[in-house]
Structures are given as structure tokens and as C-alpha cells.
Amino acid sequence: MNKRSSWALPYFIFLVLFVVLPLMMILLYALQDGSGHFTLYNITKFFTDKDALSTFALSIEVAIENTLLCILIGYPAAYILADNKLNRSAVTVVLFILPMWINALMRTLATAELFTMAGVPLGKGTLLFGMCYDYLPFMIYPIYNQLKKMDKSYAEAAQDLGATPGQVFRKVTLPLSMPGVWSGVMMVFMPTVSTFAISEFLTNNKIKLFGTIIQENINNSMWNYGAALSLIMLVIIGLTTLLQGGEQAEETSGGLI
């Protein structure tokens, strides 16, 4: 029996080499100057760099707005999809997940072209719309999954105890579906903060998000500053993960097909 648990070892080594070690590298480079000496300069540089700070603030703002928008549009869709009375077709569900499998860059380019053709000027509005369009399936899917596996008898028990349909939703269905919402938030919020190509296309390079400045720094060989910016992003990821308890990710994002 103990033998089979040792099968996890190769993957453990792999994870240490290609996940843990690289994250250490971010820390290492963030705390070094170009010649390899220890310094906090890169971190302080960020907090005194007005451009970087405002980009960071904007990224967080856009990410929050985008996440809320995704919940607002995605939750009802997930709810309808998961309700046997309202939707019985598995194909409809597939149609909602399908866009996740289409090249995001291509979809984004098409969205941008669509706006241009319709005469909508590219800017923050189109950025938000495009982002929401890109990430909506990632919000719908975990919520749908959570609702689908929910035991129907909870809602029935609530009704039995005298709850109106509205109360059933507010007091039973909604709280029980929160793990799915949190998973969705994880799958939408951080990726939004960190996108680079998508925001460039959707705003014709007018609006930069945090991901873009990381990319620019790395591409211009400013590795240490790029690493410092990545480190700041990592801290935020850590905080949001702690906030949601971290466990549901496995349950709800498993088995995407």
C-alpha cells in the first residue's frame, strides 16, 4: 500500500523544480539589483513610481468591475442552466463553455474589430466589455457546477418550512452556491489584473494594465523590476486565495468537460 503513495514522488520533484523554484526566482530577482546584490530598490521603486502605481490601481479597478460584471451576467445564466425545469439540454451548457476553448487572442481581436466596425471608440468601455466577454465562461462554469451538485432537498426543506421562492433563493440557494462564485472570482479576477495582450487589443494600446508593464520590463531586460512587479502580484494572489479558503478550487474547477 505504501508503495503506491510513493508514485507521487516524481510529480513532487517536478512541482518543486518547475513551480516552487521558479516562484523563488521571482523573489530572488525582485530582491536583487542588476549585478546580483541584495536590494529593496525594486520594491521601493514601484511604490514611488506614479505611472506604475496608477496602472496598478486601474488594473485592480478594472478587475473588480469585470469580476462584478461577470457575476451579474453569469450567475443568472448559471442558475438557469442548472435548473432542470428551465433547461434540460446538455448542449446548451456546452455552448456556454465552448468559447473557453477558442484562442483568446483571436476572439479578442474579433471583438475589437466588431467595435471598430460598429463605430464604438476603443477605450475603457470596450475594455470592460471585451474582458467580460473573455472571462464570462470562467464565471458561469464553476457556479453552474456548484448549483448542479447541490442537493435539491435543501431547497425543498426550506419551502416545506415556509420559505417563499425568493426566500429560498436568498437564504439557501445563494449561500450554498458561494463556493462556486468564489472559484469563479479566482478564475476571473487575477487573470484580469494580469492580462497584457488583451487589454492592448481592446483599447488600441490606449490603456495599459499591470500585466503589460510586467511584460514590457521583462522584454526590455529589466528583469529585476519585472520580478518585483510579479512579486506584488503574487502577494495579491496569496491574499485572495487565503480569503476564499483555497479549498473549493479543486472541487469546482475539476472536470471542465
Partner: protein, 268 residues
């Protein structure tokens, strides 16, 4: 049909229309000759012909990118499937702290945004002085694909009767035979969905490839599109190519899901 149901259906279709508008847009404009998107110059299959005959500007670049994308996706998802399945079996038999640690580590690549995965691996390769190219891109793709294989195989392991491996040994199978004839077939559905998921994620990846491909001019479809779009003019033949890819994915996913839901309803 009551009003609630009509409203629900209408809502779903509205969201779907918005979701598919850009995709439909690409498909529609793949049937015209115009260079830029959104410019309709009459129906034509010229772009499809160009794509298949290879007679277009920079055709070698696009074809190479397609080939690279497929090769990388194939290599990464095969390795990820094997590594992930073996790992899942191991993790399933771990207990307590060790199991928690493995689950936590396995979650990291899924929680990390692409850019962090990309930058961190880039820094690792730079630090170790590894020259970047095919191998580093494939390694990077294995990194973000394997967790999803683990995630898809784990539920199958949990459903599995814990004695099934021992039952095979009991009937005279050696451990290797028990693995090949019993464990792998029982886990196969999870391995297949893990593989497909890995393959499509690898196909779709942009950020990780972007940071780990090095400077040898290695392009996948994503990086090719990115570079193309940055230059201004998108290669028109991308539209039919994307349409075809979309069609293939649509069919594959529909077939898998219909088969799965059939299997579920067949069971008593």
C-alpha cells in the same frame, strides 16, 4: 410554457448571441477576400484555398506556427497525462500532511495567472542558463497542464472500489498487469478528459509561451497572431484557419458531452 421559462430561455440566448458574435464574425468574414476584418467584398472561398495551397504571403511562418502549436500541445499533453495520472494515484494513497502539501502544490499552477507562470519559468531558465526553445515551452506547458490531469483523474480514483487493484493481484495479476489491465482502464475516462483539457489549454496558451520561447524565433499560433496584430495587418488566412479550429473543437466537445450524458442516463 410559463413566463418564467420564456424569460429564462430569452436570457440564455441573449448571452449566447453576445458570446458568439465575435466568433460568428470571424467565420462570416472568412468567406470574403478582404484583407482586414469587417470589410465584406463578396462571398469567396479564396482564403480557404490560399490556406490549403499555402499560396499566401508569409505562408511558411503561419504553417510553421500551426505545426509548432500542434506539436507542443501533443507533447505537453501526453507527458502531462502520464505524469498527472501517476501522481494522482500516488496522491490518492497519501494521507494527512503529505496529501495536503501535494494538493496545495498542485493548486499553485492553476491559481497562478499565466503571466506569473511565464515570468517565473523565464527567470528560472535565465538563472540556470538554459537556452530557451521548444523544450522550455513544452516544459512550461506540462507545468500548467498536469494539475488539470490530476484533477480529472482524482475523482475516478475516489469512485474506484479501493479493493479493485488488490482484486487483480488476488486473481493472479502481477502489480504491472494489475496496473495495465485494471487500474488504467478504470481511470481512462479521467485521463482522456485530462488529456483533452491539457491539449486545448496548450493550444490556447499565449502568455506562458511568450515568455519561455526564447529568441530563436519560435512561434505558435498565439504568438504569431500577437506579432501579426502588433504589426497592424492580420494575415487574412487566419480567419478560415480559426473557423476550422472552432468547428473541430465544437464537434469534439459536443460528441464528448453527448456521449457522457448518455452514459449517465443509461445507468440505472
Amino acid at each position: 410554457m410559463n413566463a418564467k421559462k420564456i424569460f429564462a430561455k430569452a436570457y440564455l440566448w441573449l448571452v449566447l448571441i453576445v458570446l458568439y458574435a465575435p466568433i460568428a464574425f470571424i467565420v462570416i468574414f472568412s468567406f470574403t477576400e478582404a484583407k482586414s476584418l469587417g470589410n465584406w467584398t463578396g462571398f469567396s472561398t479564396q482564403l480557404y484555398q490560399n490556406l490549403f495551397s499555402g499560396s499566401m504571403q508569409n505562408s511558411s511562418g503561419l504553417l510553421a506556427a500551426v505545426k509548432n502549436t500542434l506539436l507542443i500541445a501533443l507533447a505537453a499533453s501526453i507527458v502531462a497525462t502520464i505524469l498527472g495520472t501517476v501522481a494522482a494515484i500516488g496522491i490518492h494513497h497519501l494521507h494527512g500532511r503529505k496529501k495536503q502539501t501535494m494538493t496545495f502544490l498542485n493548486n499553485i499552477p492553476m491559481i497562478n495567472p499565466d503571466i506569473i507562470t511565464g515570468v517565473s519559468l523565464f527567470l528560472l531558465f535565465v538563472f540556470l542558463g538554459i537556452s530557451q526553445g521548444y523544450l522550455t515551452v513544452i516544459l512550461a506547458h506540462i507545468t500548467f497542464c498536469t494539475p488539470y490531469v490530476v484533477l480529472n483523474v482524482m475523482p475516478k480514483l475516489r469512485q474506484l472500489n479501493p479493493n479493485i487493484y488488490e482484486a487483480a493481484l488476488d486473481l493472479g495479476a502481477t502489480p504491472a498487469q494489475a496496473l495495465r489491465k485494471v487500474l488504467v482502464p478504470a481511470l481512462r475516462p479521467g485521463m482522456i478528459s485530462g488529456f483533452i483539457l491539457s491539449f486545448t489549454m496548450s493550444l490556447d496558451d499565449f502568455a506562458v509561451t511568450f515568455f519561455t520561447r526564447g529568441t530563436i524565433g519560435l512561434d505558435t499560433l498565439s504568438t504569431y497572431i500577437y506579432a501579426d496584430a502588433r504589426k497592424g495587418g492580420l494575415t487574412p488566412e487566419l480567419k478560415p484557419l480559426m473557423s476550422i479550429i472552432f468547428l473541430i473543437i465544437l464537434i469534439v466537445l459536443l460528441v464528448i458531452n453527448i456521449r457522457q450524458s448518455k452514459q449517465q442516463t443509461d445507468k440505472p
